[in-house]
């Protein structure tokens, strides 16, 4: 099919506004899937996506559409995630497109990620097809949605297609708008015919190795083509090319403008670079395509195998997972309490949760993670600077001149009625209000500067509850700021346990120390002796709990018929201990780590 009759577009929106549901309808309407294959949120193919009802990865799919003009168009759709942690997925998808369907929920109106994702699309000069979705809802408010489109996004209301992805209303109109408004794929390099394929995502398959998702910007690609990856310089023979329908479907050739996949002989994460350009090794393009901005993880935590024997397996697993998640980073580290593992970087807390879950499910790893934190900048008294992503490595307080913490600028969209609550929350989280912008007569956009660490764990939940669900937030990184930060250690039976150390603001140390000690008291099994649990800053104990000594643990009856059972129980309990349990030494079981580190504060 010719380039003029190809359209590449993403669907973008705030979380839950109906991107994947609209994709379902588009797939059905174009008969890309049969009735039998049909299921809700079909493109959310990962179990994890289906269970949580959110999109985590962008999903490409190629459809054929017979338009009102009687011609058949090839439509390459990319369904994207809505959660702020996955905006890197969105921006890479947008780079493969000329247009974007921007969905706005008719009941919720424009929310923070609507604004943020529109900005991403505008930055790439994409044509926007606005859609107001969920008009079937009883509380849908079309005039409100229109007003917000115009007032907040500067999009003419009459451009917006009213739709209900759920009821299948407006689907044809949306497809027509894509065909008529979105330009055909741009070609790079004029008509030099050289191969330029941009790798915007990849996946590791245990049978086929690395599968690269590509957008063709010029030339052709087929089985047998000898390609060179322009950033690594490595040369491969293409084994297979194809498109997503949405399952991978082999094709003879990918042509300029196409979105599809290629399989070559790539085996490891080191060989794949997202944003790389594939060109022909014999007739290379003179320049690679613009790559993607390197993304810097902002949230850090250690990931450790529950059983120390599994370290090598975990190493393979994180490597393979990284192929499918360009934003995930890791380096090896070790902990006195947890053994060998990895310090990992994530884009946010949801991203971290998803990575942990994927390691567990897709790679069958039994793992635990330390408490998530951020990177601090430290200037030592000797004038040297260092970055600390693990509390264990924070120098002694006497050697610290200054600690700086990463800040974010948060854009919080709230109805006027909740400004007070938001100000309260901002204060609690050590933030300052920078700007209040009136969007229309009911809503404002607050710009707030906050320490990243404060919004990591529960800010979004608190924001939602403070605003009865009407508030939403987007944020960007905003440099570093000096702060009164200290390292808080946890001592169990007078011994520090590194996995529980954290860097906290002095004003929060005590409450966090208390909460942590209380939680530890709950999860550490009773011992034969009294166990003090303390939180300390340097030599100062700031919180304390005591686990009283166990008083009784003995079988009541032990006679002739009970002896084997008794012995087997003893054998089992012994196996649970790696080495001989020492009197006076607390064995903290892995489950205790898991419970505490999971529960956050």
């Amino acid at each position: 099919m010719s380039l003029e009759r190809t359209r590449n577009f993403s669907i973008i929106a705030h979380i839950d506004h109906g991107k994947t549901t609209l994709s379902d309808r588009l797939l059905e309407h174009t008969q890309t899937i049969t009735e039998r294959e049909q299921q809700d949120q079909l493109l959310d193919g990962m179990d994890l996506e289906r269970e949580r009802g959110i999109t985590i990865k962008s999903h490409p799919v190629t459809m054929n559409y017979v338009a009102k003009d009687g011609l058949t168009y090839k439509l390459n759709l990319l369904d994207t995630p809505g959660h702020v942690d996955f905006s890197y997925e969105v921006s890479r998808s947008l780079a493969a497109c000329e247009g974007a369907i921007l969905i706005v929920d008719a009941a919720q109106g424009v929310e923070a990620q609507t604004v943020a994702n529109l900005h991403l699309a505008n930055a790439q000069n994409l044509t926007i097809v606005p859609v107001v979705n969920k008009i079937d809802l009883p509380n849908a408010d079309l005039p409100m949605a229109h007003r917000m489109l115009e007032d907040i996004l500067a999009i003419p209301a009459e451009d917006a297609v009213p739709a209900s992805a759920k009821m299948g209303i407006g689907i044809e109109e949306i497809l027509e708008a894509v065909v008529t408004r979105v330009p055909s794929p741009k070609v790079i390099g004029g008509d030099d015919g050289l191969l330029r394929a941009s790798v915007f995502d990849s996946l590791y398959d245990s049978f086929r190795g690395v599968i690269s998702y590509v957008r063709m910007f010029s030339g052709t690609l087929k089985r047998g083509t000898s390609i060179r990856m322009m950033s690594t310089g490595k040369i491969y023979d293409v084994k297979e090319v194809g498109v997503f329908t949405p399952k991978m479907t082999k094709r003879d050739v990918l042509e300029s403008g196409d979105v599809g996949y290629l399989i070559a002989n790539m085996k490891s994460a080191a060989e794949v670079k997202i944003g790389d350009t594939a060109t022909e090794s014999q007739r290379p393009a003179p320049e690679p395509l613009a790559g993607f901005k390197e993304i810097q993880p902002m949230v850090f935590a250690g990931i450790y195998p529950v059983s120390t024997d599994d370290f090598e397996q975990l190493k393979l697993a994180v490597g393979k997972l990284q192929i499918n998640d360009a934003a995930f980073q890791f380096t090896s580290e070790s902990s006195a309490a947890l053994g060998f593992g990895f310090r990992c970087g994530f884009l946010g807390l949801l991203h971290m949760e998803i990575i942990l879950e994927r390691l567990r499910r897709e790679f069958n790893m039994d793992i635990i993670s330390t408490y998530p934190g951020v990177i601090y900048e430290v200037t030592k008294t000797d004038g040297s600077d260092l970055e600390v992503d693990n509390p264990t490595f924070l120098p002694d307080a006497s050697q610290i001149e200054e600690i700086r913490e990463p800040m974010v600028k948060a854009f919080i969209l709230v109805p006027n009625d909740y400004i007070g609550e938001m100000m309260q929350l901002t204060m609690e989280k050590r933030g300052t209000l920078i700007n209040t912008e009136t969007l229309d007569d009911t809503r404002v956009m607050l710009t707030v500067r906050l320490p990243l660490n404060e919004i990591l764990v529960d800010f979004n939940d608190k924001l939602k509850s403070a605003t009865k669900g009407y508030g939403s937030m987007d944020y960007e990184h905003d440099g570093y700021e000096p702060a009164k930060l200290v390292k808080m250690d946890v001592l169990i039976n007078a011994e520090p346990v590194d996995a529980f150390s954290s860097i906290v603001h002095t004003t929060k140390a005590q409450s966090r120390g208390r909460a942590l000690c209380a939680k530890l008291k709950e999860v550490i099994p009773v011992q034969m002796f009294k166990v003090p649990i303390q939180a300390s800053i340097g030599a100062n104990i700031i919180a304390r709990e005591t686990i009283n000594a166990m008083r009784k643990n003995v079988t009541a009856k032990c006679y002739g018929g009970d002896i084997s059972r008794k012995r087997k129980l003893l054998e089992k309990q012994k196996k649970g201990k790696e080495k001989m349990k020492m009197f006076g030494k607390v064995n903290i079981p892995q489950e205790a780590f898991i419970k505490v580190l999971k529960s956050g504060d």
Binding site: V554, K557, C558, G560, R567, F583
Partner: protein, 358 residues
């Protein structure tokens, strides 16, 4: 030589909701056939084991052996007597429940050689007895005790249970006072255990009952203090005896002596083998060889069992069972040249300590 004989009588009037022994209501079981089957098993074992069985102790347990009618009890006891060399017998115990025998059955026991009866009273508090699903009253318990005394059974023991849902320390203390006022020669005081496959376990899981570690410890220590003050020797976690009244049979288990168990579900240990009879009375009666499962004990198994069992006793665990002398804090144990003996604080932690030193 096998010096210890156990005989299992699996019948109970009513099934207690906490009990996980092999037992059932007598129902249509042919009692005559059952007694014959027990004696037949003894003959079978005597023939097949190839080692003499010359008992120093015999223990009739259950279930409820005292439930057997006088006729069947007499034929069982005399059947055993006629088959065994009893010249070395020092103790012949029988487990009895209140309201299952009168003075005449008690006398019959005495006449047939029973020297020791262990009476399952469990509690003197009606409400607790009700929770436990026992169908005797405190009055009947006292009457049963008096029958045994009147029949001149030489050693009478009372079984009690503590830390039962709804049982206060006061109620437990009253039970102890009531029991000791009868001046039994021996007392067993068992912490209620929620055994899997029992109704109590289900109630624990569903939350109707809750385990209470503090109550366990309080009741345990109260019993220990009360009974030792009255001159009972706390010679094992759950057992207290007046001088010369310890249960020899149970001590044999703890020390690791071989024993032969007869009856459905009974366990025997003749090193290196341990076998369990089929836990089904009907099949038991009709089988020539009732062995159901056999395991072979390694020396390590045997050692582990000694650690688990002997730590519980006042004699303590001989150090020879350990590869090295553990450094247990002195508040938990005293270590002599030859033995580890747990202290009053250490004793109720015996299972923890066993894991730590095994």
């Amino acid at each position: 030589m096998i010096r210890h004989l156990y005989i299992h009588v699996p019948f109970c009037h009513r099934i207690c909701p906490y009990c996980n022994f092999y037992k059932h209501k007598p129902g249509a079981t042919d009692q005559t056939a059952f007694v014959s089957a027990l004696l037949a098993e003894l003959d079978f074992r005597q023939h097949t084991l190839g080692i003499p069985i010359i008992p120093e102790t015999i223990y009739l347990g259950g279930g409820t052996p005292s439930l057997l009618s006088e006729k069947h009890l007499a034929s069982l006891l005399s059947g055993l007597t006629s088959r065994l060399d009893l010249s070395h017998l020092k103790e012949w115990s029988l487990e009895a429940n209140p309201a299952t025998f009168g003075i005449s059955k008690a006398r019959l026991m005495k006449e047939h050689g029973i020297t020791r009866v262990s009476l399952g009273i469990q509690s003197f508090t009606p409400l607790v007895l009700q929770t436990l699903g026992r169908d005797h009253s405190p009055k009947e318990a006292t009457a049963a005790y008096n029958h045994l005394r009147e029949a001149d059974i030489s050693s009478v023991s009372i079984d009690l249970m503590f830390s039962i849902p709804g049982q206060s320390l006061k109620s437990w203390s009253e039970t102890l006072i009531a029991a000791t006022s009868l001046e039994p020669d021996h007392l067993s005081a068992y912490n209620l255990t929620y055994e899997e496959d029992t109704a109590f376990f289900q109630q624990l899981k569903s939350g109707t009952f809750s385990a209470d570690g503090d109550r366990d410890a309080d009741h345990y220590h109260h019993a220990s203090r009360h009974l030792t003050k009255l001159g009972y020797d706390h010679y094992e976690i759950s057992n207290y005896a007046k001088p010369q009244h310890r249960s020899r049979h149970n001590q044999a288990y703890w020390k690791g002596a071989d024993y032969l168990g007869l009856g459905p579900g009974a366990v025997s240990t003749v090193r290196p083998h341990r076998w369990t009879n089929i836990p089904d009375t009907n099949s038991y009666i009709h089988r020539q060889n009732p062995t159901h499962e056999t395991e072979t004990l390694t020396p390590t198994d045997f050692t582990l069992e000694r650690i688990a069992l002997l730590l519980r006793t006042s004699e303590g665990l001989p150090l020879k069972h350990l590869s090295k002398t553990p450094d247990i804090p002195s508040e938990l144990a005293t270590i002599s040249k030859t033995h580890i003996i747990l202290t009053e604080t250490g004793r109720p932690l015996a299972d923890e300590i066993a894991v730590a030193i095994a």
